[in-house]
């Protein structure tokens, strides 16, 4: 991949630019998240992949119409949000439709309001919450920690997903226990594994790890330790430092 346009393929002035070329140019603007192929940094990479640069994919955002029942859900939610005083764009950062699933990226301060509407509004009717799942993206500066809620509507037989992202420096998300009491343990688990703090949770304590455990094990920066097997001065490195395909 070179930034210069190959000779002979210069788009003549005035003609509409190639879409793929534009997408490629945009991709080149993105931050490099990884180099090389095997995660090696200390020794020379003789594989020929040493110069490979992998750039971060831009945050996807789907345009209307979303298809399936997704437009209906978004419309009903927007109507109710506007009636309640806050606009759809204020509460929902972006909407992603991918692989037949709808994800609403909700701003943390509006999460409880959105969840309550999704549960109580008859046109939406998401009665059942499948819980919270945390994801840690250390390379996503300013939005490292994500909490993903899986909602199910038995009334309409629909599923949607809410996603909230917060910075690592201030990992606070309002608790959904008041709306979906089933989130109680799931939020404790997400706190335990990712260090996400759910404000308003009735008792945010560790649930899987021992009470006096240090750190949050499912974060990507959690040190895994290695097996201290020494052979002629070398030790087995921990899994995240080993050479491996990426």
């Amino acid at each position: 991949m070179s930034e210069a346009t190959p000779p002979g393929q210069d788009p003549p002035g005035g003609a509409e630019p190639d879409e793929a070329a534009l997408a490629g140019q945009q991709r080149l603007q993105e931050q490099v998240v990884r180099t090389g192929m095997f995660g090696t940094e200390t020794t020379g990479d003789t594989s020929g992949y040493g110069g490979l640069q992998v750039r971060r994919a831009p945050p996807p955002s789907s345009p209307r119409p979303y298809g399936s029942y997704f437009d209906e859900v978004a419309d009903a939610l927007a109507t109710r949000l506007e009636a309640g005083g806050s606009g759809f764009a204020d509460a929902v950062e972006r909407v992603v439709v991918d692989r037949g699933e709808l994800t609403l990226h909700v701003r943390p301060e509006h999460l409880v309001e959105v969840a309550r509407l999704l549960r109580d509004e008859p046109a939406l009717g998401f009665e059942l919450c499948g819980g919270v799942s945390g994801v840690h993206y250390p390379s996503d500066a300013g939005r490292e920690l994500h909490a993903v809620y899986h909602l199910l509507s038995i009334t309409h037989n629909r599923r949607i997903r809410l996603e909230v992202s917060v910075p690592d420096a201030d990992p606070h998300i309002p608790s959904l226990v008041g709306v979906y009491p089933t989130c109680d343990w799931h939020e404790r688990e997400t706190w335990d594994f990712f260090g996400l703090v759910f404000d308003g949770h009735p008792g945010l304590t560790r649930i899987e790890m021992p009470d006096d455990w240090k750190g949050h094990p499912q974060r990507k920066d959690y040190p895994l330790g290695g097996i201290p097997v020494e052979y002629r001065g070398a030790t087995v490195p921990p899994p995240e430092e080993r050479r491996s395909y990426q």
Partner: protein, 458 residues
């Protein structure tokens, strides 16, 4: 409903729970078989009044708590005032481990989560991976039938274990033996098909690990031939047994609103009268083409959950019979996706010393096709890459909705794989089902939830 007070508090005391330090009131260390001493000591203490409450640890090593589940009980006599379930004793870091293995190897880990329904863990995970890859439509028909077949066999073995241990915990050893006798037969069939009795790693991204071995269809037919009689025998011990009825009728009540509140699904939800079954409502693996019913009851109690489970066994037998007919009439065919960049290259064969690599396949890659060898090597060492994104795939496990949230960053390993285990959600409902009831009913309540701690703690 008793929602707030029961689940609100922080579960579990601080780190000093085992010692007297920091504890309020008098502490007795009980080692078993010394209840008389405890009662005597409590009576002699002099501070006993009618309002005195006793805090008791039930578990984590207790034969009636279905594995390493710890219940902290506050008792007023025989009445349960407060119950706090404490989990985490079987946490093995399955989700974290999966992040350091290829997508295919992930199956070997997630199958160990809910160890009584391994095939469902595998299926939920593989459906998620296939959704990420966008190859749902390419899964061979035969692989889907085999998945359904294995899932339904597994449902039977899980349900009979649930019912059998239910009986055992209430004091009926015979029921346990009858239940485990059926499970033994299922495990024999599973061993014949997958090579393992548990933790099969049979369902793989793209299909299943191997086709039916010779004689498997006969074994399945023999099993479904004896199954109705054996399940009827099991039912004849329980259905109208006055002791069993007294222990389970109107015990551990949880209605529809309670189920929605706590995210409870599966037989517990269907025992409230709601016919919600993902196999019908959001079909996967071709379940929409099978003929089966969704049994429901309206009692919302432990007895009706048992009846729902037994009725589901009969429906599963019907599905298995249909699977066997389809497999027999369809004849041999591929069981792994045709895409050579994804489909696991090795075919397995049953040798004299057990299941192993197929000699034909070894001969093919070692002496006939260099490309096949390269593909085999790349897939086994490196694995396949999965386009970035996230999906949630859910299956109806014997316990309820088992979901898999899989996230890919475009690499050869899961960036994050989370199993939404039904038992995890169900245990939260335990205080609502038992507080205000009798101590003995806790046993029936836990058994009727059928929690598997391997799945709860992962």
């Amino acid at each position: 409903m008793t929602t707030d007070a029961s689940t609100a508090g922080p579960a579990g005391p601080g780190p000093g729970a085992g010692s007297d330090e920091g504890a309020e009131g008098r502490v007795y260390n009980v080692g078993g078989q010394d209840w008389d001493e405890v009662v005597r000591a409590a009576q002699q203490a002099g501070d006993k009044t009618d309002t005195e409450r006793m805090v008791i640890n039930m578990g984590p090593q207790h034969p009636s708590t279905h594995g390493v589940l710890r219940l902290i009980l506050t008792l007023d006599g025989e009445t349960v005032v407060e119950l706090r379930p404490v989990i985490g004793y079987l946490h093995t870091g399955i989700e974290k481990n999966m992040e350091f293995r290829t997508w295919t190897q992930g199956v070997t880990f997630c199958t160990r989560a809910d160890y009584l329904s391994p095939i469902f863990n595998e299926a939920a995970y593989c459906l998620a991976v296939e959704k990420l890859l966008g190859i749902e439509a390419e899964i061979p028909e035969r692989a889907s039938i085999l998945r359904v077949l294995m899932m339904e066999l597994n449902r039977i073995s899980s349900h009979v274990t649930a019912v059998g241990t239910f009986g055992l915990e209430l004091g009926a050893t015979t029921v346990f033996l009858y239940g485990l006798r059926i499970r033994e037969k299922v495990l024999d069939v599973c061993e014949l098909i997958t090579g393992l009795r548990m933790n099969h790693a049979y369902v793989r991204p793209g299909g299943v690990s191997q086709d039916l071995p010779a004689g498997a269809l006969d074994a399945i037919r023999e099993f479904i031939g004896v199954m109705p009689e054996q399940s009827a025998e099991l039912r004849s011990l329980m259905d109208a047994n006055p002791l069993y009825l007294a222990r389970t009728r109107n015990v551990a009540y949880l209605d529809l609103a309670g189920c929605m509140t706590y995210g409870v699904t599966g037989p517990i939800l269907r025992a409230t009268g709601l016919p919600w079954d993902l196999r019908k409502s959001q079909p996967y693996c071709g379940y929409e083409t099978y003929d089966f019913a969704v049994p429901t009851r309206t009692g919302c109690d432990a007895y009706d959950r048992y009846i729902v489970r037994m009725d589901e066994i009969d429906e599963s037998v019907k599905i298995i019979a249909e699977c066997a007919d389809r497999l027999a009439s369809a004849g041999p065919g591929p069981v792994m996706v045709a895409n050579k960049k994804i489909g696991w290259p090795a075919q397995l064969a049953l040798g004299l010393d057990g299941l192993g690599n197929s000699p034909d396949h070894i001969a093919h890659i070692m002496s006939q096709s260099m490309e096949a060898l390269i593909h085999h090597f790349k897939l086994v060492t490196e694995g396949f890459r999965v386009p970035p994104g996230q999906v949630y795939a859910a299956v109806e496990s014997p316990r309820g909705e088992l979901g898999c949230h899989a996230v890919s960053d475009g690499g050869t390993r899961p960036y994050r794989a989370h199993l939404r285990d039904p038992s995890f959600a169900h245990l939260q409902a335990l205080p609502a089902m038992t507080e205000g009831g009798l101590l003995a009913d806790i046993i029936a309540a836990v058994a009727s939830l059928d929690p598997i701690m391997g799945g709860v703690d992962r």
